[in-house]
Symmetry: C2
């Protein structure tokens, strides 16, 4: 007779009985072919209604753990496809996971503020999508993403960036890092140039894929043509709209020079990484390279990691027409890397105007953040010992500190105070004449209190 | 004075007014600094309450389109970061997207049935996750995936596959295709062997990444050691548990031979692709290669594409300990490619027992499907002119047709009847002695009516 402990039940009794019997079957306590007690005797023995036992048995039957023989009773099935294993402890091996140092304040990154993620709208839309688009959700997505998301992105690019784009030029993927890999497959193994100073992670991403990645010199207008020429690269991966970490926005004249560079070589391309254009805080926007490119030389990339949340893995690129054709010809066998559920949710979020509202709200929020940190720097007395270099875009500026301490010394002293700060010089990818005393201040995610603490600590460093 | 057409309003009036004014600002009809009508006069003029106008103005203020000067009124803001562009038509270029031929019945694939996706539970859990795990959802996931999902997968592998795995050995990614790319980066550019016959897509995936991919001969027990030796490959990508399309399950003896092959060379590895082990319909399960591998030579891969839906892009691999360490050391800079929202939803789906229930339900469903199609083949009189080769696993079997027609002729005749069928010979990756007259019959997604039609058409082909 089965006896289970009915004292510590949390939830419906029938589920508890079901689980107990299943566990006994899986662990071999109950053997294949063994007869289970009748409903009535099981019920009487434990002071439970026969309906409850019936429900538990029905569940076990529907999942194939037991079977019934008419007028004979219930028997344990020979479980096919399952291995009976004894209850074992969890496995633990010595796998060393690099630990990231924890800081109380982090002003180093190009991160965003995620506290303002529009949870209620997102939840509402995703529920809508799940109840009203069941068929679409189960239909395999084209490699480039579902059409309604690509259409929503094209509409957004038109109204927000003045870009005229066919949805079929758009390829949606699980993050820009993934899309870089697609580009490498599309363009072949060429020499790539990235900006110096620039984003070290790009070197690692290209390096991991066996790409020869070189560094192109920048001046105050962004990457230079002689800089690109010198690398011998075919593909220039650049951030002309808001460079990280310098904050430089490439002026129109330089944009045309760079386009001319691309046009001069048949296999040359530009990857225009427009990672945070949504958060331009002031000043006239400059048309994207993609918009002014008449020669199909520019691949435009953007991501919802910055504008929504880095934990939603949706980015996209816009391919020139001939590359879009190449993509469909050569790479249609790939599956899209973003789930339909999130593609349709995002599509509706954009097309119903919520994305624009969110961006507007966040832009105002970041403007206030910038005012706050400037106020905090002023209040600390620091403002007289430093200069601020910014171009009114994005979520950070550069602070020039009037100090004879090396950048490493400044970083180390602030680390003592729980502050993570990075110098511009950390972003130079080559040794040499790297600008000292410039520090990145990302203010996106600090409270007013944090800002005071950070400003105070900076002040002490300058003493 | 602003005048808008209030006849065709769909939704709240204040939103309509808000949208009209915003459009006028964006298109330049309303210029920066221009004064808007007072709430009262706007309201009176259009027979609307001032509260409605107030709401519209408030929305515009909160989004930064207009501003208010105390006691003076409302003014159009200088919109920063937005480009005023005239309304334009949609762009359309000639981008040729390869069209897939539509068939009424498709028995060719290794697809699944998605009608039974557990929408209500999935919706419930994803709503739970969004209301109760907001912080977790915004916290950037480790490269390998969030711990609670990896823990849930480890628990599932233990109870379902008898595999003892540390969650830190598990790497979650947006589809197996993506994970193959990770493996290539992890192992370096080696020679890979895939099974012949086998999955053509693998050739394309490896080819796109510049990998030298060769074909290893199979016999009735699966891939052979001489076959692997002959390729000169270092990495064997194989499906020992249920090979597609042959359906072969590699017996234990061959498994040990293959492991010995891997052990004999330092850089040798086995990728064990276990894409549909959940749907083993009968027979004793054979332990995975991963479980019996004592030399850290096996990378185990599986996906939720088959067990849940191909439109949810979540797959995972289990790395041997030394490769897990290498992964964390070399590739921690990558972002995880699966969104937190779906990672947490799936984690809860598994850990609350819904995944197991779903699999059990689907297994019963597929067993019924198999019975139905066998019945339909019998009823059509076809069963006497064909043989069935299957091993009780997965969602397809091989049908041997007693015909002198070539495989291409059979395929073409059935195509005429709207049926997509593929021969085993289509899956041979090399020319030569390829078995004729074997056809894949995937019964996962056919109705009983479909089955009758397909059986009838097959019968006619044999006349």
């Amino acid at each position: 007779m089965l006896t289970y402990d009915f004292e510590k039940i949390d939830g419906p009794i029938y589920l508890y009985i079901y689980q107990c019997i299943k566990d006994d079957i899986l662990s071999g306590v109950l053997k294949p072919g063994e007869k289970l007690p009748s409903k009535r005797s099981f019920a009487n023995n434990n002071g439970i209604s026969t309906i409850t036992i019936q429900n538990a048995y029905d569940q076990l039957i529907s999942e194939g753990y037991i079977y019934t023989r008419p007028k004979k009773g219930y028997y344990v099935a020979r479980i096919e496809g399952l291995q009976r294993i004894p209850k074992q402890k969890d496995v633990h091996y010595d796998i060393e996971i690099p630990k990231k140092k924890e800081f109380r304040y982090d002003i180093s990154s190009n991160g965003i503020n995620s506290d303002n993620f529009p949870f209620s709208v997102w939840t509402k839309i995703s529920r809508d999508v799940m109840s009203n688009r069941k068929e679409d959700l189960m239909e395999i997505s084209p490699t480039s993403g579902v059409l309604c998301l690509r259409q929503a992105i094209a509409d957004h690019l038109k109204s927000f960036r003045g870009m005229l784009v066919d949805p079929d030029q758009i390829v949606v993927g699980a993050g820009t890092e993934y899309l870089y890999g697609v580009i490498i497959q599309l363009l072949g193994q060429k020499v790539y140039a990235i900006e110096n100073p620039g984003y070290k992670k790009l070197t690692m991403i290209y390096g991991q894929r066996g790409i020869d990645c070189r560094y192109a010199v920048m001046d105050d207008d962004g990457v230079t043509v002689p800089g690109l020429e010198e690398t011998g690269a075919d593909v220039a991966h650049i951030c002309p709209n808001h460079h990280f970490p310098t904050g430089i926005t490439m002026p129109a004249s330089r944009r045309y020079e760079i386009l001319a560079w691309a046009k001069a070589g048949e296999g040359r391309y530009i990857i225009e990484d427009d990672y945070d254009s949504e958060f331009r805080l002031e000043g006239k926007p400059i048309p994207t390279l993609f918009s002014i490119d008449g020669s199909e030389k520019v691949i435009y990339m953007n991501t919802f990691s910055k504008s929504l949340s880095p934990t939603i893995r949706i980015s996209y690129m816009v391919l020139p027409v001939h590359l879009a054709n190449l993509f469909y010809r050569e790479m249609s066998f790939y599956s899209c890397t973003v789930s339909n559920f999130e593609q349709y949710t995002l599509a509706q979020f954009i097309s119903q105007g919520y994305f624009e509202k969110h961006i507007n709200r966040m832009r105002l929020y970041y403007i206030r953040q910038r005012k706050r940190i400037l106020k905090a720097l002023k209040a600390s007395g620091l403002i007289e010992k430093c200069g601020i270099r910014e171009n009114g875009s994005g979520l950070h500026f550069l602070l020039k500190l009037d100090t004879s301490k090396s950048d490493q010394e400044v970083e180390a002293e602030l680390e003592e105070e729980g502050i993570k700060i990075r110098a511009l010089s950390d972003y130079y990818l080559t040794e040499g004449d790297n600008r000292q005393h410039y520090f990145i201040v990302n203010y996106s995610d600090l409270t007013e209190d944090d800002m005071e603490k950070v400003a105070g600590a900076l002040f002490r460093v300058l003493q």
